[in-house]
C-alpha cells in the first residue's frame, strides 16, 4: 500500500507543480531546463521507491502511475473542465503580424521564442509574416503564416 500511496502522492505533486510552473517549463526546453528535469526525476525516484528496491515495489509504482494516467485521461475525455484545468487552453500570442503583449508577458514567451518556432515550422523569419502564433495547451507554439502559400 505504501508504494501505491507514494506513487499517487508524487503524481499529484508533480502535476500541480508543473501546472503552477507554467507551460513554458515543458516546452521551449533549453539545456538548463533539460538538466532541471533530470534533477526532478532523480529527486523523485527516491521518494517513489523509499528504501524498498525490490522488483515488486518498482512494478507496483509503475502500475499505479500508468493506471492514474489512464484514469485521468479517461476523466479528461468525459469532462472537458478537467482537461482545461489540468492542461490549460491555447493562447494567441501573435495576430496578423502584431504581438499581443499581455498574453506574451503573462505566458513568459518572448518574440524570439515565437520567431524561432516560426522559422522551424514555417520557414518564416519576419514577425509581419506571421498570421497567427498560438501557444498550445501542450506548450508548443504553432504558427500560421499570414498568407498561405
Amino acid at each position: 500500500m505504501d508504494a501505491v500511496l507514494r506513487a499517487l502522492a508524487i503524481y499529484v505533486a508533480l502535476t500541480v507543480l508543473f501546472r503552477i510552473a507554467g507551460r513554458r517549463s515543458l516546452n521551449q526546453i533549453t539545456t538548463f531546463d533539460f538538466v532541471l528535469l533530470l534533477i526532478v526525476g532523480e529527486a523523485t525516484q527516491q521518494a517513489l521507491l523509499g528504501d524498498d528496491f525490490s522488483v515488486t515495489n518498482a512494478v507496483l509504482v509503475i502500475v499505479t502511475l500508468l493506471l492514474t494516467d489512464v484514469v485521468i485521461a479517461w476523466v479528461k475525455e468525459r469532462r472537458p473542465v478537467t482537461a482545461r484545468t489540468l492542461e490549460g487552453l491555447p493562447t494567441i500570442l501573435v495576430h496578423d503580424g502584431k504581438p499581443l503583449e499581455e498574453r506574451l508577458t503573462r505566458s513568459r514567451i518572448s518574440i524570439e521564442d515565437v520567431l524561432q518556432s516560426a522559422r522551424e515550422t514555417q520557414g518564416i523569419v519576419r514577425l509581419e509574416e506571421i498570421g497567427l502564433a498560438v501557444l498550445e495547451a501542450g506548450g508548443n507554439i504553432s504558427v500560421v503564416p499570414r498568407e498561405r502559400r
Binding site: 502522492a9 507543480l17 501546472r19 503552477i20 510552473a21 507554467g22 523509499g50 528504501d51 482545461r84 490549460g88 487552453l89 491555447p90 493562447t91 494567441i92 495576430h95 496578423d96 498574453r103 503573462r106 505566458s107 498570421g131 497567427l132 498560438v134 500560421v144 499570414r146 498568407e147 498561405r148
Partner: protein, 190 residues
C-alpha cells in the same frame, strides 16, 4: 485564405482569455506559495532547521530533552536526553535501577547513572538506530525505552539517540526520571 480577425481567431482556436487570466493569477499565487515553502524549509518547518528543534524540561532539576519535533519518515532524527549538571560532590538523586554511586572522594568521577523512561506512541513508531553511550539502553518494550544515563560529577549526563520514523503522523512521548515527567510531541512528515 483570408486571415480571420482576432475575435474569430479566438473562437477558432478555443482561447478563453478570461479563464486564462484566472490561470495566470493562480500561477502567481502558486509561485508565491513555492517561495514560502522554500523560506519555511530554510526555517526548518519541514525538519532540519531552527523551527524543527524543540526542548522540554521536566521541571527544575529534572531531565530535559532536545529533539526534532518535526521529522520526516524514512530519515534519521536526533534526540538528546540530558540530566542537569551536578555540583562537585553533590549527590545525584538515584532512581529505580540506578547504579550505586562510588564515594571515594569529591573529585573522583562518579559513574552512577539515572534511569530515564521514554514511553508513548513515539517509541512505538520509531526504530532506534543507535544510542550514545552504546550501552545506554537498558530495556525496551513495545512503547517504552528504559535508558541509563551516565552521570559524572560536575557534568551533565546525556544520552544521544538516533531514531528513524517509518510512518507519518503525530506521536507523543513522556520522559520521566521516576519523580518528574515531561511530555513531548513529534510531527513526522511523509
Amino acid at each position: 485564405m483570408a486571415l480571420p480577425d482576432l475575435p474569430e481567431a479566438v473562437r477558432l482556436v478555443g482561447e478563453d482569455l478570461a479563464y486564462q487570466r484566472k490561470v495566470w493569477r493562480a500561477q502567481r499565487v502558486g509561485w508565491a506559495a513555492m517561495g514560502l515553502v522554500v523560506l519555511a524549509a530554510f526555517a526548518g518547518a519541514f525538519g532540519s532547521g531552527p523551527l524543527a528543534w524543540g526542548e522540554v524540561e521536566a521541571g527544575a532539576g529534572g531531565p530535559s530533552a532536545r529533539y526534532e519535533r518535526i521529522q520526516r519518515a524514512g530519515r534519521d532524527a536526533r534526540m538528546t536526553l540530558t540530566l542537569p549538571r551536578t555540583a562537585e560532590g553533590a549527590t545525584i538523586p538515584r532512581t529505580e535501577g540506578a547504579i550505586i554511586p562510588r564515594t571515594e572522594g569529591a573529585t573522583a568521577p562518579r559513574t552512577e547513572g539515572v534511569t530515564l523512561r521514554l514511553s508513548g506512541t513515539l517509541v512505538e513508531e520509531m526504530d532506534l538506530v543507535s544510542a550514545l553511550p552504546a550501552d545506554a539502553v537498558a530495556a525496551r518494550t513495545a512503547d517504552t525505552l528504559v535508558l541509563r544515563v551516565p552521570a559524572v560529577t560536575g557534568a551533565a549526563g546525556a544520552v544521544v539517540l538516533r531514531t528513524w520514523a517509518t510512518h507519518p503522523g503525530i506521536y507523543r512521548a513522556t520522559l520521566s526520571d521516576g519523580a518528574r515527567e515531561v511530555s513531548l510531541r513529534v510531527l513526522v512528515l511523509p
